[in-house]
C-alpha cells in the first residue's frame, strides 16, 4: 500500500488555500473571457472585413462579365475609317452574299444568252422562258439553303420575295442592292424570329410547371433577344459607332441588372422588402457595370491596350491596395478570434499560468521544500515508506490538479452554454478537448516539477530548475504566438516561431482541435508520456537518495 491517508490530509491542509485561490481565479478569468466574448459581437469587424473581400470578389466578377458582354457587342461590327462592315451574322450574311452573287451571275448569263438569241433567232422567247426557269431554280436553291437554316419556317413568303427580287433585278439591276435587298433581309429576319419564338416556346413548354403563359412570355423574350441581336448587325445609314457603343453599354447594363435581380428568385409571393432588396442590388450591379464599361472605354480612348484597359476597369477595392496588405487584410477577415483568444491565449497561456504557479509551488513544497526545511523528518520518523511518501504526494498533486481542471471544465461548459452552446464559435466538444489538453499540459509540468522536487534536497534548486524551466516554456509560448499561424500575417514574425520548438506547450495545439481531425491526440499522448515518465523517475530517485533530515 503506497498511500498514506494522514500525509494526504496534511498536504491538503497545507495547500488548500493555494488550490482554492488559483482555481477560483482561473475559473473567473475563463468565465469572463467566454461570456464577454460571447455577448460582444467581436466578430463584427471581422465579418465586415470578410464582407469587403467577398464583395470585392463579386464586384470584380461582375465587372469582368460586363466588359466581356460589351466586347462581344462591339466585336460584332468592324469599325474602320468610319466604315462599318458586318463581320458576324446569326445565319444569313454569308449565305445571302453568295446567293446574291449567284443570282446576279446566273441572271446576267441567261440575259446575255437571251439577248444574243433575241437578235439572231426566234428562239429568243424560249430562252427568256429558260432564264425565268433558271431564276426559279436559283430561287428554289436559295430557298432550300435558307430553309435548312430556318427549319420549318413558312417558306412561301420567302420564295415569293426572292422571285420578286429577281424580277426586280431583271427590270432594274441598279436598284437591286438597296430597297429590295432590305426587303429580303427583313423577310429572312422575320423567318428567323419566328423560328426562335417557336423554339423557345417548345423548350419552355417542356419545363416543369410550364404553362402556356410562361412559355409565351419566354418565347417573346427569346424573340426580343433575337431581334436585338440581329438588329445590332444591321448596318444602317445613320450608323454611328459611338451611338452603337452607347447602345451596347446600355444593353449590357440592363442585362446585368436583370441578371442581378433574377438571382434573388423574386416571385409574385415575395414580400415588398425582398423585392426592394433585389431591386437595390440590381441597381448597384447596374451601376458597377456602367462604371466598369465607362472606365474601360475611357482607358481605350486614352490609348491603353485592351489588356491594360480591362485591368484598370475590373480592379476592385482590394485590388487597388498592395498585394501583401490585401492578403494580410483578408487573413484578418478570416481569423478565428474566438479560437485565438479562448484556445491559443487562454488555454495555452493565460489560463495555465496560475495552475503552473500552483504546480511549481506545490510540487516543490510536497518534497524538496519539506526536505530542505527538515519537516520531512516528522513523516519519515514514523513507519512510512519513502515510496509511500512520494506516491502520496504525487497523488495529492494529481488529484488537486484534476479537481482544479474539473472546476475549470465545469465553468467553461456552463459559460459556453450561457453564450449559446453549440451555436457559439467554440462548441462543447472543442471546449472539452481544450480542457483535456490544458490538463495534460499541466500533468506534464506537474510531473517535471515533481521530479525536480524529488531529485533536489534544496528548494532553491528544485524551484529554479523545475519552476524556471516551466516558466521559461510558458514565456516561449507567449513569444512563439507571434510566430504562429494563428496570428494574422500583419502581426506575425515568422522567425518567432522558433520559440514554439522550445516549449512543450506546443504539444497542445488548439488549432488542430479547431481544425477537426484527430492528429492533436499525438501531442496529448506525448504530454501524458512526459508526465508519467517524470513521476516514475521522481519516485525512484526519492527512494534512493540521501536525505539531510
Amino acid at each position: 500500500m503506497f498511500f498514506s491517508k494522514a500525509l494526504f490530509k496534511q498536504s491538503m491542509k497545507a495547500n488548500w488555500v493555494k488550490w482554492l485561490s488559483v482555481t477560483v481565479a482561473t475559473c473567473v478569468m475563463l468565465a469572463i473571457v467566454i461570456i464577454v466574448l460571447g455577448s460582444l459581437s467581436i466578430n463584427d469587424i471581422r465579418d465586415s472585413l470578410k464582407g469587403v473581400f467577398a464583395q470585392a470578389d463579386q464586384e470584380a466578377e461582375l465587372k469582368e462579365g460586363a466588359i466581356d458582354s460589351y466586347d462581344a457587342y462591339l466585336s460584332s461590327v468592324e469599325f474602320e475609317n468610319g466604315i462599318v462592315t458586318l463581320t458576324g451574322s446569326p445565319f444569313w450574311d454569308g449565305a445571302f452574299v453568295s446567293i446574291k452573287d449567284e443570282i446576279t451571275e446566273a441572271y446576267d448569263n441567261s440575259k446575255a444568252g437571251y439577248e444574243l438569241q433575241n437578235g439572231v433567232s426566234a428562239q429568243g422567247e424560249d430562252l427568256k422562258q429558260l432564264q425565268l426557269t433558271t431564276s426559279n431554280a436559283l430561287a428554289e436553291q436559295f430557298f432550300q439553303m435558307a430553309g435548312s437554316m430556318l427549319g420549318d419556317a413558312t417558306q412561301d413568303d420567302l420564295a415569293q420575295l426572292i422571285y420578286i427580287l429577281i424580277l426586280t433585278y431583271e427590270n432594274n439591276p441598279e436598284s437591286f442592292d438597296d430597297a429590295n435587298s432590305a426587303n429580303l433581309v427583313e423577310a429572312i429576319n422575320n423567318q428567323y424570329y419566328a423560328y426562335v419564338y417557336d423554339m423557345a416556346y417548345d423548350l419552355a413548354l417542356q419545363e416543369e410547371n410550364a404553362t402556356v403563359i410562361n412559355a409565351t412570355s419566354s418565347a417573346i423574350s427569346a424573340k426580343e433577344v433575337a431581334q436585338k441581336g440581329v438588329g445590332a448587325y444591321v448596318p444602317s445609314a445613320e450608323f454611328d459607332i459611338n451611338d452603337y457603343k452607347t447602345t451596347a453599354r446600355d444593353e449590357v447594363n440592363e442585362l446585368i441588372r436583370n441578371q442581378a435581380y433574377n438571382s434573388f428568385n423574386i416571385v409574385e409571393t415575395s414580400t415588398d422588402e425582398q423585392k426592394e432588396e433585389a431591386n437595390q442590388y440590381a441597381i448597384a450591379a447596374k451601376v458597377i457595370s456602367n462604371t466598369a464599361i465607362s472606365t474601360y472605354e475611357l482607358w481605350l480612348t486614352e490609348g491603353a491596350t485592351v489588356e491594360e484597359a480591362r485591368l484598370q476597369a475590373t480592379v476592385s477595392i482590394t485590388g487597388q491596395i498592395d498585394e501583401k496588405v490585401a492578403e494580410a487584410l483578408e487573413e484578418l477577415g478570416n481569423m478565428d478570434i474566438y479560437g485565438l483568444i479562448i484556445g491559443s491565449i487562454f488555454y495555452r497561456i493565460a489560463g495555465i499560468l496560475l495552475p503552473m504557479v500552483y504546480v511549481i509551488m506545490v510540487a516543490n513544497g510536497l518534497l524538496a521544500g519539506q526536505v530542505d526545511s527538515g519537516s520531512m523528518a516528522y513523516v519519515l520518523s514514523t513507519p512510512t515508506k519513502r515510496r509511500t511518501v512520494s506516491t502520496t504526494q504525487m497523488l495529492y498533486l494529481l488529484a488537486s490538479l484534476l479537481a482544479m481542471f474539473a472546476c475549470v471544465t465545469a465553468v467553461s461548459v456552463v459559460s459556453i452554454w450561457i453564450v449559446g452552446g453549440n451555436s457559439f464559435a467554440i462548441n462543447f466538444g472543442e471546449i472539452l478537448l481544450f480542457n483535456l489538453g490544458a490538463f495534460l499540459t499541466m500533468f506534464a509540468f506537474a510531473g517535471f516539477c515533481f521530479m525536480c522536487s524529488a531529485i533536489f534536497n534544496r528548494t532553491k534548486y528544485s524551484l529554479s530548475i523545475g519552476g524556471g524551466i516551466s516558466i521559461f516554456m510558458l514565456v516561449c509560448t507567449i513569444l512563439g504566438l507571434f510566430g504562429s499561424n494563428v496570428v494574422p500575417s500583419a502581426m506575425r514574425i515568422d522567425q518567432m516561431n522558433v520559440f514554439n520548438y522550445l516549449s512543450m506547450i506546443s504539444l497542445f495545439d488548439t488549432n488542430l482541435i479547431l481544425a477537426g481531425g484527430l492528429t492533436f491526440f499525438i501531442g496529448f499522448g506525448v504530454l501524458a508520456f512526459i508526465g508519467v515518465i517524470s513521476f516514475i523517475i521522481g519516485t525512484i530517485v526519492f527512494d534512493r537518495k540521501d536525505l539531510p533530515l
Binding site: 498514506s4 491517508k5 494522514a6 500525509l7 490530509k9 496534511q10 491542509k13 497545507a14 495547500n15 513544497g365 519539506q370 526545511s373 527538515g374 519537516s375 523528518a377 516528522y378 513523516v379 519519515l380 520518523s381 514514523t382 513507519p383 512510512t384 515508506k385 519513502r386 534512493r544 540521501d546 536525505l547 539531510p548 533530515l549
Partner: protein, 306 residues
C-alpha cells in the same frame, strides 16, 4: 540476560565521506537496550551525520548500522516502529497549529489513544493550540518532543534536543529523559553540552573530525578517585617550597603564586597536613568531569598527531 547483551543499536565501520575531511569515518559503537548513550562534539564533527545514518535517511558508504538486527538503510521503514526521533533542526510541516500537527503525527504513527500525548503536553506545560510558525524555539522543541515521545517507542533518538532552551526548560527536559530512562527506553542523544550528557547518559562518545575519539563510561568517571585542586599561596616562599614537594602539578602560574595539582583521594590527608604549614590564600577543588576528561583525551590525541 543474554538478550540484554546483544546490542540494540550497533554501528560497524560506519563511513560517509563528504570529501575535504568532512563526514564520518569508521565509526564503531554499540548501544545496549535500556542504555542512554550520548554523542558529544563540536559543530560539524559528524554527530548529525551519524544520527541520519542510524535513522536511515542517508546511506552509509561503508559499514552499517543495525537496529534490533535490521539494517538502518534497507529496513528504514521497519525500524521506525521502534525508533522515535527529534530532529536537530526544528521545522514543522506547513500546518496551522500544534494540535493539528500532533493529531496528524498521531495518525501517521497509527496512534488512536492520545492520553499519553496529553500527559506529555501537561508535563511540558505546552500550549499546543499556538500557531506553529509563531512558536518560540522552546515551544517548538516541546512540541517536537511530544510528537516523538507520544508513540512510546523503545528507542529515542534526539539530535541536540536542548540547544536554544532556557536553563529552566533544560531542567524539565532532563527530568523527562530520566522518566524515559526509568521506563527502560534506550536513548541516543547528541549535544554540545557536557554537563547534561554527564547527568543523563550512561556512556558518552566524543566525536572529533568525524571519528570517535573516546567513549567514556560516566559511572566510571563519577566513581573516579582523582581530584584536582587549585591552590594560591600568599607568599612566594611558600609557593616555591610547595613546588618542591612531590605533588603532581598539572598547571603552574608563577605570577599568581598558583598551582593546580592532580591528587588521588588517598593522598588528601597528606596534602592538608602539608598545607597546615603554609599561608594559603585560597584552595578550590576543580571537579574532574566529562569535559575535563575529554579535554585530556583530545589533548593527548592532538599531541599524538603532532
Amino acid at each position: 540476560m543474554e538478550k540484554e547483551l546483544t546490542p540494540l543499536i550497533q554501528a560497524e565501520n560506519l563511513t560517509k565521506d563528504y570529501g575535504q575531511g568532512r563526514g564520518v569515518f569508521d565509526l564503531n559503537f554499540s548501544i545496549k537496550k535500556g542504555e542512554t548513550f550520548g554523542f558529544v562534539g563540536t559543530n560539524g564533527s559528524g554527530k548529525t551525520t551519524t544520527i541520519r545514518q542510524i535513522m536511515g535517511f542517508i546511506k552509509p558508504q561503508k559499514g552499517f548500522v543495525k537496529i534490533n538486527g535490521m539494517d538502518a538503510w534497507q529496513d528504514s521503514c521497519e525500524i521506525k516502529k521502534y525508533v522515535s526521533y527529534v530532529p536537530g533542526e526544528i521545522a514543522f510541516p506547513d500546518l496551522k497549529d500544534g494540535i493539528t500537527f500532533l493529531k496528524n503525527q498521531a495518525e501517521l504513527l497509527g496512534i488512536k489513544n492520545l492520553d499519553y500525548a496529553n500527559y506529555l503536553i501537561k508535563k511540558l506545560q505546552l500550549d499546543p493550540s499556538a500557531n506553529l510558525k509563531r512558536m518560540s524555539k522552546g515551544m517548538k522543541q516541546k512540541t517536537a518532543l511530544v510528537a516523538a515521545l507520544m508513540s512510546d517507542k523503545e528507542i529515542l533518538i534526539l539530535d541536540e534536543p536542548t540547544t536554544g532552551l532556557d536553563p529552566l526548560m533544560r531542567e524539565t527536559f532532563i527530568d523527562l529523559i530520566f522518566e524515559q530512562k526509568k521506563k527502560g527506553k534506550t536513548i541516543l542523544m547528541s549535544s554540545q553540552m557536557f554537563d547534561e550528557l554527564e547527568r543523563t547518559c550512561d556512556r558518552v562518545a566524543l566525536i572529533f573530525n568525524g571519528r570517535i575519539i573516546d567513549i567514556a563510561d560516566i559511572n566510571e568517571l563519577k566513581s573516579s578517585t582523582r581530584k584536582i585542586y587549585k591552590i594560591e599561596f600568599l607568599q612566594k616562599v611558600d609557593y616555591q617550597k610547595f613546588k618542591r614537594l612531590r605533588y603532581k602539578i598539572i598547571r603552574d602560574q608563577k605570577q599568581y603564586n598558583q598551582v593546580t595539582i592532580d591528587i588521588d583521594d588517598k593522598d588528601i590527608n597528606r596534602l592538608f597536613k602539608t598545607l597546615k604549614n603554609y599561608q594559603v590564600k585560597f584552595i578550590a577543588e576543580i571537579k574532574f568531569n566529562l569535559e575535563k576528561h575529554f579535554k585530556d583525551v583530545l589533548a593527548e590525541q592532538l599531541k599524538g598527531e603532532k
